[in-house]
């Protein structure tokens, strides 16, 4: 499976990572190498095998429907790169 630079550009956009031409060229090679190596999974017979999504089977746990958390706006504000009047501030995102 060979991955071209256009595909690298597409997934880099999906992952919101800026890349330069040189990076895309290098990444196309590296990622293709990794994917080529991963191809060998095709040799494994997985007919009627259920995919494993968790390491250990366990029942789902749950929480009570009671308010036990919140009130950390100040802590959030302290960590935020930009914060004003109680809000996180980001570049304009108008639709």
């Amino acid at each position: 499976m060979s991955l071209d630079e256009a595909t690298v550009a597409r997934i880099a956009r999906l992952a919101r990572i800026a890349t330069t031409d040189e990076e895309r060229e290098r990444l196309a090679g590296e990622l293709s190498g990794i994917l080529d190596w991963v191809e060998q999974l095709g040799d494994v017979d997985t007919e009627s095998v259920e995919p494993m999504t968790g390491a250990i089977e366990m029942p789902l746990k749950s929480r009570e429907d009671t308010v036990t958390d919140g009130g950390v706006a100040e802590d959030i504000a302290r960590n935020a790169p930009r914060y004003a009047q109680g809000f996180l501030v980001v570049p304009k995102t108008v639709e």
Binding site: R13, L14, R16, T53, G54, E57, M58, P59, L60, K61, S62, R63, E64, D65, T66, V67, T68, D69, G70, G71, V72, A73, D75, I76, A77, R82, A84, Q85, G86, F87, L88, V89, V90, P91, K92, T93, V94, E95
Partner: protein, 484 residues
Amino acid sequence: MAATIEGATGVWEYAIGLEVHAQIVSNAKLFSGASTAFGAEPNANVSPIDAGMPGMLPVINMACIEQAVKTGLAIDGAVNAHSVFDRKNYFYPDLPQGYQISQYKQPVVSGGHLEIELEDGGTRRIGVERLHVEQDAGKSLHDRDPSSSHVDLNRSGVGLMEIVSHPDLRSPEEAATYVRKLRTILRYAGTCDGNMQEGSLRVDVNVSVRRPGGALGVRCEIKNLNSIRFLRRAIEVEASRQVGVLEAGGEIEQETRLFDVGRNVTRPMRGKEEAHDYRYFPDPDLPPLRLDRAWIDRIAASMPELPDARRARFMRDYGLSAYDAGVLVAEKENADFYEAAAEGRDKKLAANWVISELFGQLNKAGRTVDESPVGAAALGELIDLVADGAISGRIAKDVFAWMFETGKGAAAIVEEKGLRQVTDAGAIGAEIDGVMEREAAKVAEYRAGKHKLFGFFVGQVMRASGGKANPKAVNDILRAKLGG
């Protein structure tokens, strides 16, 4: 109620499917212990989980799942014993984790349907494809600053039910009726407050058009409609846009569009060149959701009465017309009010009072039944005064208007204004004698055979009594005296 669109080249039909996002009624969020309360200070109801802080993990609030199961049962859906939470990956400032926890391939409820009442009195069954549970995002505010947007995460992580219909709806009106009906069911089930203004109920609509009987056309999705009026308008505008494109020989591109209320058009969402690729995969932080059959059965056994059942009961047990029953059950509070007011009384009479007098006054005042100055017990007292013959129905309407205005009780107003009906035969006879004396000529005409003058005499007597005379007594005594 199916509507058609008259194009330049002929007739087109609507095919409409709805995705309704209904906020689950719960104290805490779907995966965190933060409050769901509306209207808090920005970022006050946020836990580190809802803010996407590093290392934070979701733990499910089963009360939210119970609400989804209830809703699923209310629309006759199949509750799946095994369902899965997936991550839907995309970047947006109000999505702090960089993904939304949702259900993709294995929702908690599959299938279902609801009956919508048509204008012609009939009903139509609209299929529901699925109901799944997911997290709400935060809120981005764009009008606080010219160059930046402000993000409030209070909604982030609140539990939502997404209820997806089949493309079974055939007109903007049907779509509106569907949303109203679904909202009614949700409110009866107590699983969503249905408040569209606060965003507790939001609608995305898929619209396509086709030639009558033809295959489904390519659809466009219009996102985030927050009123039924806009929903209807958006569908109309989008369908006629599509007809225009198709009749000009063009093709409809499957895309997401926004409804521009001001300009009354739909337009493509910005940045559509980036085809969405949500990269769904099972959330490794959450094992599959396995529901015990006995648990589901217990919920089924504890379901409240739903609107269709209540409507049927009102018709069957109370003898109400389909129309009246439908009007009463549309809002749970109205039906509750009616049942309280009608308790131990004539059900039809009570229905008339609630529908014509109470709803009429409420409408004029722009109030809901919960804000009515006349409570169910007070209305019941008024109905009793009429039934007992203490006041006439005519007077009662005036009394009701006074009650609505002043909040006073019916009996108090009747006493205060001296409106109690006169049933004493002597007193009524005296009034009749007075009238017969004044109108001797008409009495003679009557006695000569002009019997249609009877109504005239009744009116005169009633006026003379200030409307308080008991009409039946007036009739009886008058007939006897005129006949004499």
